[in-house]
């Protein structure tokens, strides 16, 4: 499933060729549209020639429809596509500054390249100016760093903002662009060709009609088809994502979880997927109870996606079934460093048992109800919840009265340490493939 992971191409000729080819198409299309001519670009701002608006927004909506279509067909994994993070105010202020530069200099950084390539002296001068501008920025940004990194909303898209499905948003954007083009054509007649408003023909040009009907049809089809659900998306993912599940590479032995919790270089998050009742009876130290369905909603998913490469997330359920289902859904959304605790809580309590006066084994059933019956809610107040701790002095010893002295402590700590379990290391911390736009 696209996009392809090009990180292993880095530094090779192939990498240069891929990006060079993309750039070739970019430059070719820009020049073809007339972006190498500063007069054509500047005429945009006097409403005489709306080429800039037409080319740019046609490109945006064509690409948007193709992207939504490819995602809908399961050809493209949008979670691995670079979406420019929203830094709202720096973006707006930067845009306002650029607008001034645009109308003074008559180019933008991309168009100045094709102007230079076609030997326009003004393009070369502008390019030199741009290099000076980016240098000045690098020299001065340190003095207002706080503003530069302010209003960071991360990966934030129009469908999320408006609360609409992707297909509907794309259709709205297409309609808006078409209206804009039509308005642009009317303006060209008045300001470009000097027609009076009364004589302006309201008929869109033939190319616009053609483009418009094509885009509308395509975006309605894309909207009707919709986007794959998280579970469907997982099925569409390639073998490299599914294989760890089949080979049990995602199931981490509890002892490895304990070891990682002790590792100060790793940030461990444990998400407990059981219901509140079971969670209150017993849960792992530091675990957070989450509703599997709520995890997929924008807010929580965003937090998971924003975790750094040094963070690892474990899912835990009663057994493994619930955790595996959630693992697939989250993996389908592109969450990295995600693992399932082997055997769930039931298995955890086998390895790090609670005192017998508190919990007793009732059944061993992966999908069924909890395999341990607790006398009362212990939360994370048992040594079993914190096997990584060296001492149990801070824990209450619930069984001191009930348990005979001969039996001693059942749990670890105090008298006996937990056994040192042998396990194969499964967790491999991976930083996300550094997908970045050319302007990132």
């Amino acid at each position: 499933m696209a996009p392809y992971d090009l990180s292993n191409l880095s530094g090779t000729i192939a990498n240069a060729l891929v990006f060079g080819t993309v750039g070739f198409g970019f430059g070719f299309a820009l020049e073809l549209g007339g972006f190498g001519d500063t007069r054509k670009l500047a005429a945009q701002f006097y409403l005489k020639d709306m080429t800039v608006l037409k080319v740019m927004f046609t490109a945006i909506v064509v690409a948007a429809v193709l992207l939504a279509g490819a995602t809908g067909l399961g050809l493209l994994d949008m979670s691995r596509v670079w979406v420019n993070p929203t830094y709202l105010w720096p973006g707006i202020v930067g845009g306002l500054i650029m607008g001034v530069g645009f109308v003074l200099g008559g180019f933008c950084p991309g168009t100045t390249l094709v102007a230079t390539a076609t030997l326009k002296i003004d393009g070369m001068i502008f390019l030199l100016g741009t290099l000076i501008g980016v240098w000045l920025f690098g020299e001065t940004v340190g003095s207002y760093e706080a503003f530069f990194i302010s209003s960071n909303m991360g990966r934030f898209t129009l469908p999320e903002w408006m609360g609409l499905p992707v297909g509907v948003t794309v259709l709205l954007v297409v309609v808006m662009a078409l209206l804009l083009f039509w308005g642009g054509e009317l303006a060209e007649q008045v300001f470009g060709r000097g027609r009076a408003w009364a004589e302006v023909s309201l008929r869109p040009s033939r190319p616009l009609m053609l483009l418009g009907s094509g885009l509308l049809l395509a975006s309605v089809v894309v909207m009707a088809r919709g986007q794959p659900t998280p579970a469907q998306k997982f099925d569409l993912l390639g073998a490299e994502v599914r294989r760890p599940l089949e080979e049990r590479g995602v199931f981490v032995h509890p002892a490895e979880v304990v070891a990682l919790k002790n590792d100060i270089n790793v940030q461990v998050t444990i998400l407990d997927l059981r219901d509140e009742h079971d969670f209150n009876l017993f849960h792992l130290g530091g675990a957070r109870r989450v509703d599997p369905a709520a995890l997929l909603q924008a807010g929580q998913l965003k937090d998971l996606l924003a975790l750094p490469g040094s963070a690892v997330t474990f899912l835990v359920g009663t057994g493994e079934a619930q955790a595996v289902a959630t693992w697939k859904e989250l993996k389908g959304q592109g969450v990295g460093n995600l693992y399932v605790i082997e055997g769930g809580i039931d298995n955890w309590l086998e390895l790090y048992p609670a005192p017998s006066c508190v919990a007793e084994r009732v059944a061993s059933n992966d999908a069924g109800p909890a395999g341990w019956r607790f006398a009362y809610a212990t939360g994370d107040n048992l040594p079993s919840a914190w096997p990584e701790l060296q001492s149990s002095r801070s824990f209450r010893s619930p069984c001191q009265v009930a348990v005979s002295t001969a039996e001693g402590h059942e749990g670890g700590h105090g008298g006996v340490a937990w056994p040192a379990y042998q396990y194969t290391r499964k967790v491999k911390l991976k930083t996300k493939a550094a997908v970045k736009g050319g302007c990132g």
Binding site: K54, P109, T112, I121
Partner: protein, 174 residues
């Protein structure tokens, strides 16, 4: 034969736009990222600065991120894209007989004025593009296609500001 030297007219904007949109989609499809130019310019500028003042590059956070220490700012995907864009522009220019050494400007300004304003405009543009984390291509075009809220806000502010200023500098272009 003389007429053969005449530059061909530019393509219909909707056609050129569709082509650009397909290129943009293919870029996302193949590489996971969009198009862009200003980041590559920033890398090139930092690379040049690194020849003359490597210690200064290492001390300035923004440059050090690209070329600090042993980092190679030139081996950057955007730089290859930039070279490709130059070649693509040249190819289209050659095919359409538009490659010609000339200075384009508004009808009522001198060459000197045009050069000064091109340099000034370029500097303002470059500065703003880095503040906005992308130029018209990297932010407005690429971010617009993936429906990023910030990119749309950015695109609107470029156009708003350019239209607001256009009237004051109308002498430059009309």
């Amino acid at each position: 034969m003389a007429t053969k030297k005449e530059p061909r007219p530019y393509a219909n904007p909707y056609l050129a736009g569709t082509l650009l949109g397909v290129v943009l989609f293919l870029s996302f499809y193949a590489t996971g990222g969009g198009l862009g130019a200003s980041a590559a310019l920033s890398h090139i500028q930092t690379g040049v600065l690194d020849w003359f003042a490597p210690a200064h590059v290492d001390r300035t956070a923004y440059f050090a991120e690209m070329a600090g220490g042993s980092r190679n700012t030139w081996d950057y995907s955007g730089v290859y894209m930039l070279v490709g864009a130059l070649l693509g522009g040249l190819a289209s220019g050659l095919l359409n007989r538009r490659v010609k050494l000339e200075l384009r400007k508004g009808p009522n300004v001198s060459n000197r004025t045009r050069v000064v304003f091109a340099l000034l405009g370029g500097a303002v543009m470059g500065y703003g593009a880095r503040l906005a984390r992308g130029c018209t291509s990297g932010q407005a075009l690429s971010g617009g296609a993936v429906l990023s809220v910030g990119s749309w806000a950015f695109a609107l502010s470029i156009f708003a500001s350019a239209y607001a200023v256009a009237w004051f500098v109308r002498r430059l272009w009309n």
